[in-house]
C-alpha cells in the first residue's frame, strides 16, 4: 500500500511532503494504516474549522490497487489514533 502525506499551513508558508510504502512503516503504524483502509469512515473528521488561522492542514492519501482513500485533517480534528502516524510521516519530510 502506498501512502502520500502532505502538510500545508503554519505561521510561515511551507509544504511538507513524503511518500512511503506501508511495508516500510513500523509495525504498529502498519496496523494503524490497515485499520484506516478497512474503516476509512471512522477516521473522517467531523468538520473543519473555518476560523483557523496559521494552523496546519494535513492530507493523507492511501492507495492499494484500485482502492483510494483521501483523508484531510487540521490541528483541531486530527484523531488521537492517527497522530503517531502523522508525527512519523512529518519527521520523514525533514521539515520542522
Amino acid at each position: 500500500m502506498k501512502l502520500v502525506y502532505s502538510r500545508e499551513g503554519g505561521l510561515f508558508p511551507q509544504r511538507a511532503h513524503t511518500e512511503v510504502q506501508s511495508a516500510d512503516l513500523p509495525a504498529d503504524l502498519q496496523k494503524m494504516v490497515d485499520k484506516v483502509l478497512t474503516q476509512p469512515d471512522a477516521y473522517q473528521p467531523v468538520s473543519a474549522n473555518s476560523a483557523l488561522r496559521d494552523g496546519y492542514q494535513y492530507r493523507l492519501d492511501l492507495t492499494e490497487g484500485r482502492k483510494k482513500i483521501c483523508l484531510r485533517f487540521d490541528d483541531l480534528n486530527l484523531p488521537d489514533e492517527v497522530q503517531p502516524l502523522i508525527h512519523f510521516l512529518q519527521q520523514r519530510t525533514g521539515k520542522p
Binding site: 505561521l11 510561515f12 476560523a51 483557523l52 488561522r53 496559521d54 494552523g55 490541528d75 483541531l76 520542522p96
Partner: protein, 344 residues
C-alpha cells in the same frame, strides 16, 4: 457583530486521561468542569451577541487570562495551570505567555480603548505545550495555542511577544473586519496580525520605527537558525534562507505578487506587500500614529477588501485623522508615497 464559529475542541478522551494519570499528571475534576463551563458560557455570549438585545446592551467581561497546559497532546483546555490574578507557576512558559497576553491586552486597551479580542472583554484562553515538537502557533476562532517547537529549528513559540500578538490580533480581525482567509483579503488578515505583533513588540521594547528591527518571530528561532526570522516587514523576502525552511518567498512589490493557490492563495506570502507599506508609513509618521491609522481603518474594512480598496480605506482614514489632529498633517502624502513604492 459577526457570527462566530463555535469551538471545535475535543472533550478529553478517557484513554488520554488514563495516560496522563499513568504519567503522574493530576487532572482535577473541577478543571474539566471549568472547561465545560467556558464553552457553555461562550456559546451563551455568542448567541446573545448575535441577538437583537445585544445591539442595545452588549455584555462586557474583564478579558481574564486562562492558561492551559496541553501536556504535549493535541488537546486544548486540558489542564488549567494559571488564571487571572493567580500566582506564578513553576513553568516559565506558562508565566511568559500569561505576561505577554497581559501586555497585548493592555496595549489594545490603552491605545484604542479596545478590550480583548471582541471589545467585550472575552476571556483570553492560551494553550501551551501543544503537540509533540509542534513548531507552530495558531488562533482557532476562540483561543490561542502554542507548540514547544523542536528546540533546534524553533524554540517554544509561546516565548515571543510578537507571535502572541500576531495570534491574538487574528482574533481582533475576526471580530472587526472579518477579513476572509484567502487571496488578498487573507493577506491583509495576515498583514494586520504582523503589524500589531510588531507594534506591540516595539512598544514593549520602547523602540521607534527607526530603532526597531521589524522582524517577526526572530525570538523563536532555534540555535541552528539564529539571526533569521519568519518575516521582515522592513525587507520582505529576506527573513530566512536555509535548507530547512527554504527561502523567504515574500514579495515587497506588486510586480512580484504570488498568484498561485498554495497557502490559501499566498496569505503569508503577499502580506509582505502591505507589510512594507506599513513600515514605510511608520518610518514617515512614527509607529504609534501608523498603528492608530491602521486600527481605525480595520474597523471600516469589509471581509473581501483587496489591496486596492485597502489603500482607498487607509487614505480616507488618514484624511479624517489628520483633520482631527490625531496624525501628522502630511500623513495622506506619506501614505500615498508608501503605497506607490510597492506598486499600488
Amino acid at each position: 457583530m459577526k457570527k462566530h464559529v463555535g469551538c471545535l475542541c475535543q472533550i478529553i478522551p478517557p484513554f488520554i486521561i488514563d495516560e496522563l494519570k499513568k504519567a503522574g499528571v493530576a487532572i482535577p475534576t473541577n478543571t474539566r468542569t471549568i472547561s465545560r463551563e467556558f464553552r457553555e458560557r461562550r456559546a451563551d455570549q455568542l448567541a446573545l451577541r448575535s441577538s437583537q438585545s445585544a445591539l442595545v446592551t452588549p455584555p462586557t467581561k474583564n478579558a481574564d487570562r486562562f492558561v492551559y497546559d496541553s501536556n504535549t497532546t493535541q488537546h486544548q483546555r486540558l489542564l488549567l495551570v494559571r488564571k487571572e490574578g493567580g500566582a506564578a507557576t513553576v513553568d516559565p512558559i506558562v508565566n511568559t505567555v500569561y505576561e505577554n497576553a497581559g501586555i497585548i491586552r493592555e496595549y489594545y486597551k490603552t491605545a484604542f480603548n479596545y478590550l480583548s479580542v471582541d471589545n467585550h472583554g472575552a476571556d483570553l484562553i492560551l494553550n501551551v505545550h501543544f503537540g509533540q515538537n509542534y513548531a507552530n502557533a495558531f488562533w482557532d476562532g476562540d483561543e490561542m495555542t502554542f507548540g514547544d517547537g523542536d528546540g533546534e529549528v524553533f524554540i517554544n513559540l509561546a516565548n515571543a511577544l510578537d507571535v502572541a500578538g500576531h495570534e491574538l490580533t487574528h482574533g481582533v480581525v475576526q471580530y472587526t473586519a472579518g477579513l476572509t482567509y484567502q487571496g488578498q483579503p487573507g493577506a491583509l488578515n495576515e498583514h494586520y496580525a504582523d503589524v500589531f505583533g510588531s507594534v506591540i513588540k516595539q512598544v514593549s521594547k520602547k523602540q521607534t520605527a527607526a530603532t526597531a528591527d521589524w522582524l517577526i518571530g526572530d525570538e523563536i528561532m532555534g540555535p541552528s537558525l539564529q539571526g533569521q526570522a519568519l518575516r521582515s516587514m522592513k525587507a520582505p523576502g529576506t527573513a530566512y534562507d536555509n535548507p530547512l525552511m527554504g527561502k523567504d518567498p515574500q514579495p515587497d512589490h506588486m510586480n512580484a505578487i504570488y498568484k498561485g493557490t498554495g497557502d490559501n492563495g499566498g496569505v503569508h506570502i503577499n502580506s509582505g506587500i502591505p507589510n512594507k507599506v506599513f513600515f514605510l508609513v511608520a518610518t514617515g509618521i512614527e509607529t504609534d500614529k501608523a498603528a492608530l491609522l491602521w486600527f481605525e481603518t480595520l474597523k471600516t474594512l469589509k471581509p473581501t477588501t483587496n489591496f486596492k480598496s485597502f489603500k482607498t480605506a487607509i487614505l480616507k482614514q488618514a484624511k479624517k485623522l489628520a483633520v482631527a489632529k490625531r496624525v501628522p498633517a502630511d500623513t495622506e502624502t506619506v501614505v500615498k508615497e508608501s503605497f506607490l513604492a510597492v506598486g499600488l
